[in-house]
């Protein structure tokens, strides 16, 4: 009797196990699995992003989940390694059977895996889109403006808000992003009819003085800059460039950089979301609450994590019937725009071959070693 009971249990266990194995992407029971590829180790480190996404999902789960099902985030670290990034995507799609990718933050994911996502019919909404492929793929739509829309906004801010005639650009570029930069400049030229006085994308390491001297000689009144902050501004002060408006990109918007910039210079930064250093701004209260409760590091990137997760949950709630990879993709392709207070324009996935829903930037300025939020609100090129 005892033995037969054991065998019954064993058979039952086997049956359950095989059922679990055969369950396809997003079965009607069990947790809803969502994937993400994040740089946690390596050169591009954003461990706070998957933590923020998970925090939002935990909150949803605590309130009963979606249609009674729990949300489960499966985050893979790609260490900015192309090989690992490709493997991570295949693992998430084939083994983990995730229904979508939410809150990815990798410098290499979009370019490498865009075709994989399109072929698998799965959508990805990165928290941080870095390379141009994030903004030009049919199945990827990031929640940040990205480096290129940001350039257009920075140029627009320099020429239209600060009203500077001679706008220059001193940038360091990653291989392959030169075309994106040219397109961003063209967008600004089309909107304003203005041209750059100097465009130099050769800034690297080494003494910045030769560049600064050239900028002075060219009469630059506003300078867009995205490379190392410390030496550039120390030497800019030495060269007496206190009357120039410097505008740095979102990657330089950190507390450490604000302290590294000497007093007396005009340095602005274009941000991708509501500046995280002021928690009273619209949308930031929600973000700060999630981040504080879960003791996550407060960075702009973590804003992207919370936003991506929030939007995903919102769209997920509109799905009637089973939540599967197919139904999720369909819901995102047919969704209506969602206003999210932390960015300048509504977010939408929608149909189409390329997605770059978020535009515009809000600007902050260094004052006495701190970033101060400027009152203008979001600067959306062509709309302000």
């Amino acid at each position: 009797m005892k033995r037969s009971l054991t065998s019954v249990v064993a058979v039952a266990a086997l049956a359950v196990a095989s059922a679990a194995c055969s369950s396809d992407a997003g079965s009607a029971d069990g947790p809803i699995k969502i994937g993400s590829i994040n740089g946690v180790t390596g050169l591009f480190q954003t461990p706070e992003v998957p933590q923020a996404v998970k925090a939002v999902f935990d909150e949803v789960n605590k309130n009963g989940g979606i249609n009674g099902r729990q949300l489960e985030l499966v985050s893979k670290d790609d260490a900015m390694n192309p090989q690992r990034s490709t493997e991570a995507a295949l693992d998430l799609l084939e083994s983990e059977k995730v229904v979508a990718l939410v809150g990815s933050s990798s410098a290499v994911d979009c370019g490498l895996n865009r075709a994989t996502y399109t072929n698998a019919g799965i959508i990805s909404m990165p928290a941080i889109g870095v390379d141009p492929a994030c903004f030009t793929s049919p199945n990827i739509a990031p929640v940040n403006p990205g480096p290129f829309k940001l350039i257009t906004a920075m140029l627009y801010y320099a020429s239209e808000t600060l009203k500077r005639d001679k706008v220059c650009m001193y940038y360091t570029v990653l291989p392959g992003s030169g075309g994106g930069i040219d397109a961003a400049i063209k967008e600004w030229t089309d909107l304003t009819g203005k041209q750059l006085t100097v465009k130099d994308t050769s800034v690297g390491q080494g003494d910045p003085t030769p560049y600064l001297v050239k900028a002075k000689a060219a009469g630059c009144q506003a300078i867009l800059y995205n490379a190392t902050v410390g030496p550039w501004f120390t030497q800019a002060k030495t060269q007496g460039m206190q009357d120039v408006d410097f505008i740095v990109a979102a990657n330089s918007y950190t507390d450490a950089n604000a302290q590294a910039i000497p007093d007396g210079l005009n340095v602005y930064a274009g941000t991708e979301w509501q500046p995280y250093t002021d928690e009273t701004l619209p949308g930031n209260d929600r973000w700060a609450k999630v981040i504080d409760e879960n003791k996550i590091q407060k960075t702009a990137f973590s804003q992207g994590g919370v936003m991506a997760a929030d939007l995903f949950v919102q769209v997920l709630k509109t799905i009637k019937g089973d939540i599967t990879r197919e139904s999720v993709t369909e819901a995102f392709k047919n969704m209506k725009p969602i206003d999210y207070p932390m960015v300048g324009t509504p977010w939408i996935f929608g149909p189409g071959e390329a997605h770059s829903p978020i535009q515009g930037s809000r600007f902050v300025k260094v004052e006495a070693g701190k970033w101060k939020v400027l009152p203008e609100g979001f600067i959306v090129p062509g709309k302000n």
């Binding site: 080494g206 120390t234 950089n257």
Partner: protein, 290 residues
Amino acid sequence: MLNSVVAGLTSGGVYALLGLCVVLTYRLVAVVNFAMAGVGTMGAFIMVSLTDAGLPWPLALVIGAAASALLSGLIGAGLVRWFGEHDERTKAAVTVALFVAIGAIGLRLFGSTSTGARRFPTVFDAPAFTLGDVVVPQSVLVSLAFAALITVGVGLLLSRTSVGLRLQALSERPASAQVVGIPAPRLAIAVWVAIGAISTLVILLVAPRLGGDFSTLSGLVTTALAVAMVGSFRSLPLTLAGGVLMGLLEGFAASLDEIQKYRGVVPFLVILVLLWWRSRNEVWDTAHSR
């Protein structure tokens, strides 16, 4: 173009200082020290962390330099104790490993390029004079003076004093030096300690120009090696000249639109050309002593 060349020249002093530190270590203790900039950066970051915490800068400077001296002394002690009998290549390989380790620790302690930028004290930041469109700050003159001081001072130390003589004996034949009664290990460690402290001073002078975060500053050792190569790891005056040459080349590279994006390659190009030049001239290479 003249402006760019002058602008490049203003960084000649800091490049010379970096190169001199490497040559100094090589001449005194016969080690090509890849960890030099890393050790100096550690001290410099300890110093700025202390000034950020409210300590007056002279006190912080002493603590930072002492920390570097201690770290360098430990490295020296390790090399003397465990690698004393090994050849230069092995010792160099050890310092490469240490360079990587210090870089990783520094990244952990003091943050990356975007999160770890620090503001270094700019005591000599006031303009000294203006040349063309280029404002030349006092720090340029201070760097050049410090470089000249090291060049002349160490030259005199080696050629005119008994300590210098012992140091030379030590670096060329450590075993024989010990046999004739020179306290080799202690002397060597003392040299390492001094080099650690000097590296911190050098990194502090260099930082406002060449980088504000840990990895950039500790990576400056590549530039330092290129400059040291000009003096063939031996001549201090030639190393000083090499630093100025490096600045000149960088300024020149920045002035030509066609080649400016390859500006960062300049140090490597200098290393390559000099290696080639020396390998085609075997007699010169084998004949020299340290």
